[in-house]
Symmetry: D4
Subunit: 211 residues, 8 copies
Amino acid sequence: MGKKYVRLDKDNAAVLLVDHQTGLLSLVRDIDPDKFKNNVLAVAAAAKYFNLPTILTTSFENGPNGPMVPELKEIFPDAPFIPRPGQINAWDNEDFVKAVKATGKKQLIIAGVVTEVCVAFPALSALEEDFEVFVITDASGTFNALTRDSALDRVSSAGAQLMTWFGMACELHRDWRNDIEGLGTLFSNHIPDYRNLINSFNYNNSDKSEH
Amino acid sequence: MGKKYVRLDKDNAAVLLVDHQTGLLSLVRDIDPDKFKNNVLAVAAAAKYFNLPTILTTSFENGPNGPMVPELKEIFPDAPFIPRPGQINAWDNEDFVKAVKATGKKQLIIAGVVTEVCVAFPALSALEEDFEVFVITDASGTFNALTRDSALDRVSSAGAQLMTWFGMACELHRDWRNDIEGLGTLFSNHIPDYRNLINSFNYNNSDKSEH
Amino acid sequence: MGKKYVRLDKDNAAVLLVDHQTGLLSLVRDIDPDKFKNNVLAVAAAAKYFNLPTILTTSFENGPNGPMVPELKEIFPDAPFIPRPGQINAWDNEDFVKAVKATGKKQLIIAGVVTEVCVAFPALSALEEDFEVFVITDASGTFNALTRDSALDRVSSAGAQLMTWFGMACELHRDWRNDIEGLGTLFSNHIPDYRNLINSFNYNNSDKSEH
Amino acid sequence: MGKKYVRLDKDNAAVLLVDHQTGLLSLVRDIDPDKFKNNVLAVAAAAKYFNLPTILTTSFENGPNGPMVPELKEIFPDAPFIPRPGQINAWDNEDFVKAVKATGKKQLIIAGVVTEVCVAFPALSALEEDFEVFVITDASGTFNALTRDSALDRVSSAGAQLMTWFGMACELHRDWRNDIEGLGTLFSNHIPDYRNLINSFNYNNSDKSEH
Amino acid sequence: MGKKYVRLDKDNAAVLLVDHQTGLLSLVRDIDPDKFKNNVLAVAAAAKYFNLPTILTTSFENGPNGPMVPELKEIFPDAPFIPRPGQINAWDNEDFVKAVKATGKKQLIIAGVVTEVCVAFPALSALEEDFEVFVITDASGTFNALTRDSALDRVSSAGAQLMTWFGMACELHRDWRNDIEGLGTLFSNHIPDYRNLINSFNYNNSDKSEH
Amino acid sequence: MGKKYVRLDKDNAAVLLVDHQTGLLSLVRDIDPDKFKNNVLAVAAAAKYFNLPTILTTSFENGPNGPMVPELKEIFPDAPFIPRPGQINAWDNEDFVKAVKATGKKQLIIAGVVTEVCVAFPALSALEEDFEVFVITDASGTFNALTRDSALDRVSSAGAQLMTWFGMACELHRDWRNDIEGLGTLFSNHIPDYRNLINSFNYNNSDKSEH
Amino acid sequence: MGKKYVRLDKDNAAVLLVDHQTGLLSLVRDIDPDKFKNNVLAVAAAAKYFNLPTILTTSFENGPNGPMVPELKEIFPDAPFIPRPGQINAWDNEDFVKAVKATGKKQLIIAGVVTEVCVAFPALSALEEDFEVFVITDASGTFNALTRDSALDRVSSAGAQLMTWFGMACELHRDWRNDIEGLGTLFSNHIPDYRNLINSFNYNNSDKSEH
Amino acid sequence: MGKKYVRLDKDNAAVLLVDHQTGLLSLVRDIDPDKFKNNVLAVAAAAKYFNLPTILTTSFENGPNGPMVPELKEIFPDAPFIPRPGQINAWDNEDFVKAVKATGKKQLIIAGVVTEVCVAFPALSALEEDFEVFVITDASGTFNALTRDSALDRVSSAGAQLMTWFGMACELHRDWRNDIEGLGTLFSNHIPDYRNLINSFNYNNSDKSEH
């Protein structure tokens, strides 16, 4: 009874970043832009940190949708990048699916813009092919909360796990002892409150007279 | 485990617009009127654009509920229009069900006012008869968010897919290459942010000295 | 797949009003007091109008919880009234369950204060005994939205239908022609916007010179 | 420095109810309808209770704006009622100003729909003629909070006192001993929380065995 | 004591639309895009309807800010249009001030994007030169509510009147009898609730059998 | 231009706690009860800590309003306590005013329930007699935000300073060196976040092996 | 169909308090700090009151996360306290699981910081091992509502029951007669509104002349 | 009538950053942490960009308040830095005032934590000494919106100008032509939406085949 606990495994997960494009981002209004930018970069930084195979795709870069956010391309210079010629559901693009399958991973972490289309469509398609799907809800944005809630109801009902970037990073890491400094840096860069905790702690444990 | 991915198919879908009447609209307070008007017209425009058989129905036009919003009747001058003599659940009206079945479609896209009655009742009835039901949550309105959330929980639990008009249009279209200009116009007319993207893009790609 | 459409049937439904007491009402903060009072009285008025067997129960009237709201007792002077000596879950009180079963009804419409206790507990108990349970979410109140949402998740997951009073009245009535004036009066008394529609309509159809 | 304390005085105050019409009320979205209806009736009940001269006015009753809310006309059957033939600012209507001045009162309590027009315009005009103006903000409604806040900034900057109906009643009454039961009844009828306090109190001080 | 009632006068007012550009609009997040688009077009329609001299200005059209929203240029094909080569405060641009003064009007109605810059700066400058300034708060947009509230506090403290487009139209019109149909059309086009009232009214007063 | 900086001075300030009664508190809905209880107790603790003369007053303790919150009476066992026989504005009660004047203080810090009556009325009266009035907005509660905002506009326009309890404590204390531990304890008891900071700091500066 | 009614049983339940640490608490922003502190202490007080075996655990006390909130350690001086050396999911720590299993209880009540990690991870792990899991949503905190809602969707879909502390206490107590004073005290200490009800009630039933 | 337009002048303005300390930041809950961090760094970046003399001050760095946020110290390595030994109002610290006056500037731009204390107190003191004070409301944070609004009412009433960082930067810059790239970079770094506009624009104006 109930969904099984499908636990993210860094050896078995790939990340799909779908349509975080400079034009499309102006449509995102369910999450504040400063926070949303941070969340998207945090997912990317986590993917990088855990060395997860990552695939980037865009829809119509040469039109109003605009190009993929440059920071993402800089973080993943060698990742497969599939600018789709027209397919709205990335899973309808053969190259994209081939790239996904080439990773050999069973778990797909998906974030994108806008949630109900660029995230939900490939998530639903991947579930149909028995992938384990994790939607990163706070790195996926759309027009408003009603739209988001409807989309998340749809993907969750179909079997996807709803997560946010911090939980994703924690579930992948498993144990702080695997690398305290690495994870701490990730959190410090993307959680101002955590950075403050670290800075207060370090200050208290330093020779304060140096300051 | 989990709902299947039931994907909207423009060759197999019909649209039911239920009780968008000038009086009843004053009851809608979970979505702002400017946005709600836009969403309802967007569903209608999408139905028209994809050539989906569309059925209009009303409850008691001659009383306080008021007539069907005139724009909807203008968009669908030849659509079956079933003013119900009293049935609250449109599915209790034989003519309505007959009109639905006459379309020969298996997928029903439903929007209406108010969500927990005019949408939820026929949605639940249609699910019982094994239709695939898509509730367009942002073109369906009601008294407040608690009422809406209760209604959406009920229809989702019974098997309906919750969508919003933009996702509906994207899932029906499948591929921009089927008609870039047509879909772009639909979005430009109903998403101010998208219209701005298009206008900026066109301006940048035009001979600006003409302006 | 999915919950069945369990449709309210006025010949097969009873109403349980649980712990709407003058003291406990001060705990309700997820719904504004003017609206909440209206919703509770609307459920009561609907129960009366549809002649549904109705059972009132309270917890510790002689202590800080205070007595049942007097209006409810006035509306149902002859209804079974079960002041519980201590059981928190009304279903743990034999007299209450006996009264429920004595109605011979299979469908239970429940509202109360507070949602996660006085509503959820008997709702869950009744579901276990195969009653069809309808929680009237807008006539049930509690401390805040998080508490409510947790409670509604629990009862919905267990099989209850979430409804609000207006949907309840509409589903019970089925067809306006059964009694236009009766239902209209119910709505006019409890939905200010609907009352305005009726007043505007009547004015327009009257001899205005009389005014 | 600062506005003077202009204190409402029941011997020197008149009430102006402007354009609470059944059609126009559908425009009010900054206050929930159940609460707004209650607030408007509470101002009226207070005016009645304190015997304040009260003037009703409407704009275009015979058109879409609809008639004055019937309850208000019933509460004040003998009050001057000035249906304005076209003037948007009630103060531009000579009969209205004449009626106001005929009261001989210096303090004007104003509520109406919509705030930035039907309330703000006559409030500003009355201030220019050195009346002391009290805008009842919770019995005045409009499209949204931004509109209301802009309107209230305008009238407050011009010298009006912003009050709500409960403060108005308290300032007029001055001392509970003038009539405990009368004021208590007013509050009981229009403040559910206060009614609960009274009912709990009475119950505790009654012979509970009677219940 | 208090600001004077400065009343909009259609013979003495000009409208300044500042930097409603397709790029800058993506910065506006204190008002929903559907509503904001409507409000801006409503101010423009009102300016047109009342024949007020109107001046358009933009900042850096050829860069990321994008061109003036095309609809505005279409509504005012012959209005002075001053694309500023660099001045952030439009009042620092001589051509703009010249155009304003050329109107010979004393009252300036200002709306723009973003509120704290493109609206507040010229508003403050104009107040210094003893213009009567009316900021249309709902046709001016910015990053968030805190920014807006700070900006409105600044301009109001400096003497500007805060208004919204509906109040502006009503204060300019003064009396419905000046043109019932014209004003009604303006409202019907930009207030969905009002359009519904009109449609219900017309339907009730028509020969319904025609429908 | 502008209000002067009237700075709280612990040698010249008295505290008035008006009508924080167990019944009336159920009317407070503009601040969450956990937070409001904390804020009221924080004002009381600050008054105690700074040794400010404090006056308690109530309205109708023997009726539904209920008694003064017991904690307040326990904190100030020897403070003047004036149960008013009927005056709604505490300043209309001679004993109260006498008690205020007996303190010999010029600065009055006022908090109470409900804001627009029990706080605003004596605040306005005291301003008229040239007291310097500080309204503690977060220890004063009322029905909703609109009521509060209207009340605060009224008292601020009349010359009162709006403060919250933390600012009050800081302005009275002036310099941490006057008593680090005392102020720290006050903050630790009433600001969970500050308590956490202190606990983290102490832990880091302790011999952690002890834990 | 639907989750079974798994009812909390005081003879079969244990409580897990996970990572309520002074540093981590600064991350909690979905619940106000005054309320959150109260909720956490209320869960602890309830655990104590019902004598439930309780287990405390922390992550990295000696770093920025800070120590367990001291009050919790004081309430449970003899409880198993498992400071985890690195495991993020407490269930990955053998000592923790051993301590849980040593209680011999089948029902686990879990609260912690942050919800999607410290609560969700052990909750999902425990469900896999067929424990009955109750997540106390209002004593679990995280970054924002979207994160919380995603986490709660995940644990509820996996079979956990969502509850809040008041419902937990009521379901454990079953019947007021088991100990009226004990439960009343618990509520009085953690629900200001309930405390007010009790104080009003006691005052009304005392010899008031004593006050 | 009304405040004068006091216009920021980059040759006459200094910036005061008060108590942005790693511990105190955990108290800020009226602005989301991602956004607040961005706003504070944006004010700092603007101060740097416009070469404004900037003064940093802290309260009790060695205690729970924690050290100044390191980024601020890095941006202004040579700025006067005044760790106050105890004064809560920075203006009570002679060194601070000396440093302020040593700048020779008349205009003071102030931001800090928490708004009602660390910002409001020195702002009010500076106004008394006839400085022109600009409070940067979005780079100043505090416990909640009520506290903030009370504080801003106090400083605005005393003559301060309320601004946000973007308006501050624009008013200082005056004309884009002074340095298009510099201002553009500032905006690109601190306004995600603006960065997107720039990236879209550049992409459209580049040789896209390069991408």
